[in-house]
Subunit: 344 residues, 2 copies
């Protein structure tokens, strides 16, 4: 059995979405076992109305909830009986559990995971890696998008390695093309961090480095993974999401401004519905915190059951592909090469 713990509180649609998402995941993966963490009575009551394999579901009671208004460090320290902190505690203590999914506070999850769950051997710092759809029907990962702000070239190299292995393990992208986010495509562009990271990424055998990339190339599908510091990665993903959403809002407003447009849009309704669906992040799973010794997936706060199921599937595929071991191996090889170089 592959055991995962699901934080059933803190999201907009909690506890229903996490519970229903978990039950869907059980149907997909016959050797999956879920531990639902939250208010026991509530969870029991929802479960009592569902049909599921009772031998693969367990409830872990947690009476408190971390909300987005809680300061992350305080939440981690003070809300020990929250579903998130209880889940993390169980994850740390039970070697039989491989991972966790939460739709609660991102800040508290990063903070809690960093403090309570160890890192994979060799990892300097864990990093966030959300996934976006590209216009050619593929996906692109961005690592990091906010967990790390002041970093070194070696951090960037680790983001590239962890992100590449993630895309391979979770999405079957065999040899992800890695781009270094920069202000121009030429090798000598950028600040000191980027200038030093470029040769470091070039010499790393564990990744396929495609050179510098500009932010405008994100959705084109040329790169599978964007390697960046948490500040610019955060700007990249939020600017992209913001622009797409504002464009859709504007189209909608324009459509409703005249009967002609309404008619046209009615004829094109299937296309517009598909566009909206294409842009629905719920279809692409959550952001994974890469580099922790257990798999931790953060679903969007507004995740529905399908989105939670996608997050669990992601975690499951990473575990099946031995993600943690792959990262450890790759970083060990890099370290060995570094040591050999020093000895020469």
């Amino acid at each position: 059995m592959r055991k995962i713990v699901i934080d059933c509180a803190g999201g907009d649609n909690s506890p229903n979405a996490p519970i229903e998402g978990a039950l869907s995941a059980l149907e997909k993966f016959p050797d999956l076992y879920v531990i639902l963490c939250g208010k026991e009575e509530e969870i029991s009551s929802i479960l009592s109305e569902k049909a599921y394999d009772g031998g693969r579901v367990e409830i872990l009671n947690a009476s408190d909830v971390i909300t987005c208004h809680d300061k992350p460090t305080d939440a981690v320290r003070l809300k020990k009986d929250s579903s998130m902190m209880r889940s993390l505690k169980l994850l740390r203590e039970d070697d039989g559990i491989f991972g966790m999914v939460s739709t609660g506070s991102t800040g508290a999850l990063v903070c809690g995971a960093t403090l309570r769950i160890g890192r994979i051997k060799g990892v300097i710092r864990p990093a966030f890696c959300p996934i976006l759809p590209t216009m050619d029907g593929g996906i692109v990962g961005i690592c990091d998008t906010g967990a790390n702000i002041d970093i070194t070239p070696e951090h960037l190299r680790q983001f590239a390695v962890m992100g590449s292995l993630y895309l391979r393990c979770a999405f079957g992208v065999e040899s992800p093309n890695v781009g270094l986010l920069n202000i121009g495509t030429e090798a000598e562009k950028g600040d000191a961090l980027r200038k030093e990271a470029y040769p470091l990424l070039s010499e790393t055998e564990e990744i396929r480095f495609g050179g510098n990339m500009e932010a405008r190339e994100l959705l084109e599908g040329k790169f599978d993974l964007v390697c960046c510091d948490g500040f610019s990665g955060n700007v990249l993903i939020k600017a992209t999401e913001g622009a797409c959403l504002e464009m859709l809002k504007k189209l909608k407003k324009d459509i409703f401004s005249s009967w002609k447009n309404k008619l046209g849009a009615f004829i094109m309704r299937k296309m517009f519905a598909e566009t909206k669906e294409f842009m629905n992040y719920q279809n692409y799973g959550g952001s994974v915190l890469l580099g922790t010794s257990k798999v931790i997936v953060k679903g969007h706060g507004s995740s529905d059951a399908r989105a939670v199921c996608a997050c669990i599937s992601q975690a499951y595929r990473m575990e099946s592909a031995s993600y943690v071991e792959c990262v450890e191996d790759a970083l060990l090889k890099i370290e060995q090469r570094n040591r050999e170089k020093e000895n020469v």
Copy 2:
């Protein structure tokens, strides 16, 4: 007469677009005088076919061209007879000329302007400030987007001051709402640079500081000016442009994929044309290099005559509103207050 020099080479549509744009600007502003810099024969030949006020047009011969393939520092040093370097030389030497417009290489222009044209008194470093349309029909400026990468909180304050005055002088935005680009909206968010810049911006009387902003808010119209380092500003504007363009491309592709969609789009053709026009940067003028002692506007490489005319209009409005003097005054006041604080 208000004299401006126009670099007539280096853009995709040079020399036609710069020349025609300049002639349009002459019609708009009766006291404008243009110096067209480029290959004299070529310019004369184009002018000979046009009707214009010959008393307000002059040609400055320059036989060479800086292309986007030239390394900026080499171009500035070696291509002394290029239209861009000749224009900058004239701008520096002739006190009667207030500014310059170019659609050539951005890197060479920033490099050349920094080396050849002095800064406004008090300015630490010039910064780039492009303008984007917002979804509510307004505009938003982003300062800086690439001229400065490793900066201090004091730089950010100057970007905010120079950008605010620019929006007032060139676009009539009376009291621009300034946002500090960050990874969250709370005051304590971000890296050391942002944490230090926040109180500095808050206490600056010369601007209206609206707090931290996230990249996703860019097009909403809440902020008039985004204050940021050149790296994240570059990511912000390119990610936004890229996402909008990719969305439009996808819509177009989807429309042509079925006759139903084609019919719908035909009925909605006016709306789609307006959306395309709304997103056409050519309508919003160029990016101004703020902080140099003369007004320098960089038009997009693919600018047509209308876009060049918009760039000239921007420069003209800045000159009419005494932009350079306004910046000098504001920075002097800040410096005086700083000195008083130190003496207390």
